[in-house]
Amino acid sequence: MNDVLDVTLRLLIVFVVFLTFPLIVGQTEHKVMAHMQGRLGPMYAGGFHGWAQLVADGVKFAQKEDVVPADADRRIFQLAPAVALLPYLLVLLAIPIGPGEGAVGQVVDAGVFFVLAVMGVGVLGSLMAGWSSANKFSLLGGLRTAAQLLAYELPMLLTAASVAMAAGTVSLVGILDAFEWWWLPWQIVGAIVFFVAGLAELQRPPFDMPVADSEIIFGAYTEYTGLRFALFLLAEYAGIVVLCGLTTVLFLGGWHGPWGADGLGWVWTLLKTALLAFVVIWLRVTYPRLREDQLQRLSWTLLVPLSLAQIALTGIVKVVIR
């Protein structure tokens, strides 16, 4: 009975995190973008600085009509948002936020592979949406999504492999247990490559060519309305949470901190994740969108060689210090 309670509680916590954190990131984005651009952002909903704006948005989305285009492939069109969103929920299960095995939804033996594999499945949702909409813009968006995934999956995997080499394990909990502070300078190139490639996989600006709202009208999501569109948006923000959490765990030492790692380890994890999420928003406000060929060139001629160099460096240091 205790086991059942334990599992239920863990799942419940992960689910609550999954429902709230993306909204917090979304609201932060509203406010941070606004202040960076010299305006206030939402101020009225909920009273205090518009904190309930996203709740109001959710209510609005739920009231909208759910339209499926006449020529669309109905079932796949309706299935796509779920395929895009659910993988991030599964990934959240495997991210440890504190020391020990009590602070993770589910200990996964091959954690690094699990999270990267499942995150890759999420992109399938965009592809399904792009194809099934029967819309040229959507199809273009889907194509660009696929090209982007193929280009950026490789550097992401390679840099994650570099960390796994350094730790001697592919378990996320094991990687954190093996972490030392000097890994930070050692793996810094890998960290940057991982973060950039993750941004590209999430199609966040400046890598938002697949959704490019001013050119191809939100790409794969052109035809979506109401709740299904909201699910895609939620997937994007859940993706930010997952990417920042993963970068924290793999490269920034997760619950390790200058002090208080035992009791307050989860605070460190959340702090680092929040900081990275802020950087994600910051990048969106700062950089213009990359053109499609620039996107591809960045990955193949810069990120892939850099990640290979990082792996070589990791291997050399690993052999030397042994």
Binding site: G26, E29, H30, M33, A34, R39, G41, D57, K60, D71, A72, D73, I76, V108, D109, A110, F113, L116, A117, G120, V121, V123, L124, L127, M128, G130, W131, S132, L139, L140, L143, R144, A146, A147, L149, L150, A151, E153, T169, V170, P205, D208, M209, V211, A212, S214, E215, F218, F229, R284, V285, P288, R289, R291, E292, D293, Q296, R297, W300, T301
Partner: protein, 242 residues
């Protein structure tokens, strides 16, 4: 027979021979789940080759490959399962979908999706399935994996056996894949050099040429609008729909 012997060697390590304690008529929960997932996988695989809609075939392939990954999981081969998802669902199917969407992927039936080689394909498929089933049954007839003990397919066990006992085939396969990789680059460079002469060179990125072939990507799309996020006064950026 030699193949079967090899497979038997492979199974000799972690799996235990304990047919005596198990019977086919007293299935455990895991065995029932294994069978059910197997049925789903089989159904998805059959649909993959029988559906008349091209993209649906690729999506049923996702279900079939995912089902296989679940089977690996049930056999405690966690590492293999995730690699299966990562490579096949994450990369191979995306590549297939990309190719389909780039060439032709009509919504609805594709009357020309049927091949005239139906019977030849069926023969080959049945023959290879028969060979595989025969080899596997012959090699693993009375072998059971002890699911209660330490995981027989954990990452550590898989890695150790791959790089200790099977390192030579592993390296041979690496060389083969490397050769294929180099060959692919050579082929694509040859094919890509012709259009590069006609078009301005800036439009021909050195790698992954097909992905940028989509025409609108080449259009000088409003370079003077560097603000994808330029907000309307009351709505930030692309969340303007709110």
């Amino acid at each position: 027979m030699t193949l079967a012997a090899t497979v038997r060697h492979l199974s000799a390590g972690p799996a235990t021979t304990a047919a005596g304690t198990h019977g086919f008529l007293s299935p455990t929960g895991v065995e029932i789940a294994f069978l059910l997932v197997g049925l789903v996988t089989l159904g998805a695989a059959v649909l993959t080759v029988t559906t008349r809609q091209l993209v649906h075939a690729a999506l049923w392939l996702v279900v079939a490959l995912g089902g296989l990954a679940v089977e690996y999981l049930l056999l405690t081969a966690e590492f293999i399962a995730w690699v299966q998802v990562l490579i096949y669902v994450g990369a191979v199917v995306v590549l297939i979908l990309f190719g389909l969407m780039l060439t032709r992927a009509p919504i609805g039936r594709s009357p020309d999706a049927d091949s005239g080689n139906r019977w030849a394909a069926l023969t080959v498929a049945v023959a290879s399935a028969a060979a595989l089933v025969w080899v596997v049954v012959d090699a693993f007839r009375a072998t059971w994996i002890d699911l209660d003990g330490p995981a027989a397919g954990s990452t550590a066990v898989t890695g150790a056996s791959l790089f200790q006992h099977w390192v030579l085939p592993f390296e041979a396969l690496s060389v083969l894949l490397l050769a294929a990789l180099v060959g692919a680059i050579v082929l694509s460079r040859k094919a890509g050099s012709r259009p590069a002469r006609d078009a301005p060179p800036t439009n021909a990125p050195p790698t992954n040429a097909p992905s940028t072939d989509a025409a609108p990507a080449r259009q000088p799309s409003a370079r003077n609008a560097p603000a994808p996020n330029a907000p309307a006064p009351d709505a930030p950026g692309k969340d303007g729909d709110r």
